[in-house]
Subunit: 142 residues, 2 copies
DNA sequence: TTAAAACATACTCATTGAGTGTAGATTTTA
DNA sequence: TAAAATCTACACTCAATGAGTATGTTTTAA
């Protein structure tokens, strides 16, 4: 399940990618995207610490995308906020971890299955960038 | 993320599908698959109530698959234990629910994206049955 | 110097996850 | 018919997570 936090992060980033303004204060983003402001502050902090957005302090400060919306990968946003895509850690490429109780990982059918699920998810989320959520009107058409 | 509960459910069902015995007491399943027994009892209850397994009481009782391993769909097992596959309810086919804050669902890029993710997951999980986890030695090869 | 913004830390509070415990019901066989 | 082994139901614990809030500090430009 996608957390509210990740959902808000994506909504906020979409809004930021859509605006023509050079930067937006979190308050404006919160109002426009219908997100509790203080919670959004936390989220924007995390995104900033991970190089997705950048900020300028002081009056007339605010947040802006740290790089082009074409190089912001949707899978990465979700990983930053919610952690690995894979349904189980032993099937994660970016955050692999062995199962406590696993006897023979190579033979584990569950792991194989979940690797397939992970790859299917990655196929969608790591092939799309933030810009795709702004311009492309019918993602499902392709 | 797959819960421990769902992982245990799958491990238990794989074990049941692999045995040649007509039925197995939960204690044996728990030992063989390394699952806390009382927790497994809860899980088997849920699976029974959803027609995946059936049980016989008394001495020499136990649990057995309620239908052929070929007609037990992996996606359904996960839905029973962990709920819908979709990362967000508005993108679920089996448990659809509108977002509180959604203005125009048809235009919501987030929903489109998550529908694609859901379909990708379903493509793996709803196309495979319990039997696939028993016999097929290399799921990823295909 | 002051208003508006980002930034940091810590806190609440309900829900979920991961189990355990106890008691009771059912069935077979000795 | 009673013991033994099992299923079944319900309630309970206990820690972690999710979803925010609150308070205060620092920065910046007018």
């Amino acid at each position: 399940m996608l957390s509210m936090k990740a959902k808000y992060a994506l909504k906020a980033l979409i809004h930021m990618a859509q605006t023509d303004r050079p930067m937006l204060p979190s308050k404006q983003i919160a109002e426009a995207a219908d997100i509790p402001q203080k919670f959004l502050d936390n989220i924007l902090q995390e995104l900033r610490q991970n190089g997705i957005v950048d900020s300028k302090r002081g009056i007339f400060g605010g947040y802006f995308l740290a790089k082009d919306a074409r190089s912001i990968i949707l899978g990465d946003i979700i990983r930053i906020i919610d952690g690995p895509l894979a349904p189980i850690r032993c099937a994660s490429l970016t955050a692999y971890q062995k199962c406590e109780d696993c006897r023979d990982e190579a033979a584990c059918q569950l792991r194989h299955l979940m690797l397939d699920v992970r790859n299917a998810m990655s196929g969608v989320l790591d092939q799309r960038c933030l810009q795709d959520l702004v311009t492309d009107p019918s993602l499902t058409a392709a």
